[in-house]
């Protein structure tokens, strides 16, 4: 009955029984905006992405070029729109892989304990010791640069950190009485980690995911700078900043707008994750 009466009202968060504050809503809107840009990019660009369209380099904002032109005279707006695909897509895919893998392994290690925990922890610690860019360099040099390789490399770089974080949280939850109750009932590991532990570490894990997303965007641009990331003429936002860095002294919009794009995405991801909709539990209204 209550479901019927709900459908008559507007499905706002509040009517669905959730409270969702404005900071979170703004974050979500910006994320959705960049998501849409990434999907519909090819239909939005005013100029082809790799074509030199202006005789001057580091051109100012104008009617023709809304965000100016880059060091070769290419249109920055078009390059940002196409770059959204790489930045949002690759980062999202690798952060999902890194955190899913890290959190599941971390919880299993916390629940299983013993030699499994020790072995896995030492292995991933050792892995953590390899500098991330160096690791990327070796992998890309060995198998060549392609988007799947980039996604997997970035995921591999950030998995150990996510594992450490999730394991530390899960170890605390694992000592709680309700986990002991579940063990005493005879429950197996998959139930323990998915039903008892995971819901209780979800908040911090999501916050960690937001941070890691930001780091991955930054490492991706670092790889692009070294020529190991997205290959020209395409470029992700980080690469756009790097290739136009000389324009900084000229006050060129070519370096400012990609930076704003990176900042708006990373900040809005964190705004959204810190202010996820929460279910209103006070029902005595």
């Amino acid at each position: 009955m209550s479901e019927k009466s709900l459908s008559l009202r507007l499905p706002t968060p509040r009517n669905l029984g959730y409270s969702f504050n404005w900071v979170g809503r703004i974050g979500l809107m910006i994320i959705l905006f960049w998501g849409a840009v990434a999907i519909f990019g090819p239909w939005l660009t005013p100029y082809p992405v790799g074509e030199i369209v202006d005789w001057d380099y580091f051109g100012p904002m104008s009617d023709k070029f809304w965000m100016g032109t880059d060091y070769l005279g290419r249109d920055i707006l078009s390059r940002i729109i196409m770059g959204a695909r790489y930045t949002v897509g690759i980062s999202l895919a690798s952060v999902t892989l890194a955190c899913t893998g890290g959190v599941i392994l971390g919880m299993v290690a916390a629940v299983a304990g013993g030699w499994f925990d020790t072995g896995l922890s030492r292995l991933l610690d050792a892995f953590n010791g390899i500098p991330s860019l160096l690791f990327g360099l070796v992998v890309v040099a060995a198998v060549g640069s392609s988007i799947p390789v980039l996604v997997l490399t970035l995921a591999a770089i950030y998995l150990p950190g996510s594992y450490r974080f999730a394991r530390a949280l899960a170890v605390n939850v694992n000592t709680m009485d309700f986990v002991t109750v579940a063990r005493a009932r005879g429950e197996r590991t998959p139930y323990l980690i998915l039903q008892e532990i995971f819901p209780n570490i979800l908040g911090p894990v999501l916050a960690d995911l937001g941070l890691r997303f930001v780091f991955i965007v930054l490492v991706l641009s670092g790889l692009s700078f070294l020529g190991l990331g997205v290959q020209p003429p395409n470029a992700d936002w980080g690469a756009l900043v790097r290739e136009n860095i000389e324009g900084l002294s000229l006050g060129a919009p070519a370096v400012v707008f990609p930076s704003i794009a990176i900042a708006s995405l990373t900040i809005s991801v964190n705004m959204f994750i810190d202010n996820l909709p929460t279910k209103i539990r006070d029902r005595s209204e």
Partner: protein, 554 residues
Amino acid sequence: MTAAPLVSVRGLTIGATTDAGRKVKIIKGVDFDIAPGEIVALIGESGSGKTTIALSLMGHTRTGCEITGGTIRLGDDDITAMDERARSGLRGTAVSYVPQSAAAAFNPSQRIMQQVIEISAIHKLMPRPEAEKKAVELFRALALPDPETIGHRYPHQVSGGQLQRLSAAMALIGDPQLVIFDEPTTALDVTTQIEVLRAFKSVMEKGGMAGVYVSHDLAVVAQIADRIIVLKGGEIQEVGTTQQILDAPAHPYTQELLAAFEPVPHELAQIEHRPHERPILEIQHLYAGYGPVRNGEPQLKILKDVNFKLQRGRNLGVIGESGSGKSTLARAIAGIVPAYRGNILFDGREQHLSLADRSKDDLRRAQMVFQLADTALNPAQSIEKILGRPLYFYHGMNSRQREARVIELLDMVRLPAALRHRLPGELSGGQKQRINLARALAAEPELILCDEITSALDTVVAAAILDLLKELQRELNLSYLFISHDLSTVESICDDVLVMYKGEVVEALPAAQMSRDASHGYSRLLISSVPQLDTGWLAGLEQDPELVAAFSDR
């Protein structure tokens, strides 16, 4: 009372805002006075607002709450009208606070002395050597051992009872006019509680300070307070001198509170006792412990050679102070902490010592209920999910059967069916403990191991849980292994009692004859330490000092 009260509270209301933006009133217009040198107890169940009122005397409210009306005067100061800066000037010097958990109130990485004299340093009351001298005097007045040197230790190097007295020293160093005690002995063993109460009482009498003593334990309050204020639902139910409240309670709620104290003698199990019947649980030469295992024995050995038999339909109580191994016993029986030697026979069949090797059906027959319902229920799962899991796990019920059974189980533990959609955090302590019990019942067990299940509850709520346990036993033919440090609880539900001390069973006897026939020194000490509902009990209590010295590490 005297002409000029030290504290006067008029029309105090404290409110909070919920996540749906609804305003709720926690304290609904409270008036009372405290005379200089008087100790007033605030008593009531959890959620009655006793701690909220006590904290408001310092001008403090917990996050999300605020004082919405009324005045609080302390001496000549109007606390409600002050800004936060002026209030913090009063804290520690005019009014101070002794928290419930001293262990959580001390910083583990600083020496005790440093923390005790912190108030004098913050308010620049006196130079450091003078403050240390004063702290040592306070340690002596609080009957702490080695008063000269105890301040050089770290908090983990003293016992729980000592730490609680040290936190009182911390509160008293600034010579406050009013000291707030927030359930300071609730977390302590009965034998330790006596020492702490004695120390508090003598130091308050000597100093002539006024006190507010927050507690849910009438017997404790009777020893220390001059007057009692009975609270329920944020309102004052009754005010009177301690003697008057104990002898002639006027309000029905106070009467209920007192009635919960009268031990209801347990009727021996009605079921015919057949000696040839197999006992439901038999423990033979059980040894258990924690830590890394070497040569088949764990490093930290807790249980030593425990033997007993529990007949079907009867209840066995296990008593002893914290650290005596009674919880370890329950965990070893359940297989959570595998015993390293000995036999566990369930209904005549020998069980694997570790739960990993036991069959699902054996696990189902013996269920354990934990002390703290707060941590024993997963905060992220709804009640329906918590109760539904054992139904699916042991009995393979589908979702419709589960829902029907969950409603039945809630009814069994006297809770409304609508509660099944809530999260544990939205229930009261007593409700949570009922859910905890219902989860054990969902497995349809034959034996329930109850680990201190009433210890964290208020007297009235605990009495209701005990009644529920007895009723369920009649209906479902259950047997309980009932672990508690509270003798009256054990007396009211158990047929036989084991007294444990340092991992060994020192005495086993029928519950009805416990207070009369106990012969072991430790049992006698334990029995004599239970507070009585009598204002003169603490003053008149004489315990054999040798006995006390022999069985406590104070």
